[in-house]
Symmetry: C2
Subunit: 213 residues, 2 copies
């Protein structure tokens, strides 16, 4: 049986708070891209902690990505080989018409935010597609010399065999921040809880157990 790990809202809040100083000192993001729905909550919280006095909020662009849901359940057993990337569907992509056009991606320090790095498939898709967009726009504008920097923040990285691979030229270790690295567990995020009081109780019991173990 897969172990369940219960994460409370306040845990999520504190994970963002804890990670923010490092981001501000090293990555200095100018734009966040939240992968929805899981990235919405951490991105909104992060925005508070990345806010610098006297400067406006860092803008958030949301994109919607989901792993294709209609796969046969037995797919790991059936020996079906899938190409990485083909399972990701877009439900929303960037809109830069509102921010003066896609050229606003070029030369920026962009932080991609999601809740969990599980198989890495979604993150690989996001980084590669964003790179393509930037490259295309840079060429069109003759601004290839400007470096656009991507970085990633997730609440949890699962320490497991990954299906997706992040492009090494874009995301080295210093550009990848996971607030926590966990085993291949089932992470129960609070926004999925049908009984949030029970959820918090289970989370507290887990913390007590770990503390006394």
């Amino acid at each position: 049986m897969v172990e369940k790990v219960y994460v409370t809202y306040n845990d999520v809040h504190k994970l963002c708070q804890e990670a923010a100083p490092q981001m501000l000192s090293t990555l200095q993001p100018q734009l966040m891209i939240a992968i929805g729905g899981g990235g919405y909550v951490p991105a909104r919280i992060l925005r508070s902690f990345l806010k610098q006095p006297g400067t406006p909020n860092i803008p958030i662009q949301a994109i919607g990505l989901s792993l294709y849901e209609q796969l046969p359940v037995s797919d790991a057993d059936s020996g079906v080989v899938e190409e990485i990337g083909t399972r990701v569907t877009r439900t929303q992509w960037l809109d830069f018409t509102s921010l003066g056009g896609m050229e606003n991606l070029v030369g920026k320090r962009i932080l991609i935010v999601d809740e969990v790095d599980d198989t890495r498939t979604t993150l690989e898709y996001a980084v590669k597609e964003l790179q393509k967009d930037v490259e295309e726009v840079s060429k069109k504008l003759g601004r290839e010399s400007e470096k656009t920097e991507f970085s990633i923040f997730v609440l949890h990285n699962k320490d497991k065999q990954k299906k997706g691979i992040l492009p090494a030229d874009a995301i080295d270790d210093s550009r990848y921040i996971a607030a926590r690295t966990v085993g291949d567990v089932w992470i129960c995020y609070p926004w999925e809880a049908t009984d949030i009081d029970e959820h918090d109780k289970l989370a507290a019991e887990q913390k007590n157990k770990t503390a006394t173990a």
Copy 2:
């Protein structure tokens, strides 16, 4: 001094949970539009409670709207008259290229989600601009006969003089859900808290006071 009201994450979670059954029975939304940043958290939580067994998640499109931040602080006193709508700036708008094009707005039941209805300026802007988009696309496609229905969900509506007016043909009372109606107070949402434990303590003290008053 303006009264501060402290709202915890679990309060937000329960407000969404409480409102969901009514939405499912009357509004039956097929698409959510989250107004960011404040709408991100309630929209993500709502998605869990609007999920019906055996059907996919309701897609969320995020839009970014913010009231123009550089206004003179004393603007109410200085007698400067502002036109409604001019203060709202878009940081992100819909992207329907990913969902097969803007025609997917037409004929849908669309729930607009934000955290608070304060002056109503942002909500007026959102509804009117979305109506315009739908009208334009419907005409182009010859699908004017299909009715697109908008509705609104906010966590809190402030009972005060509103600057924005919701188009009566689109949003009647049955299409406007506020989980709570409050006075013209300062609502402290948890995602803005720098000390979430202190925030929760203050929220608990307020609840005790109300209970014993």
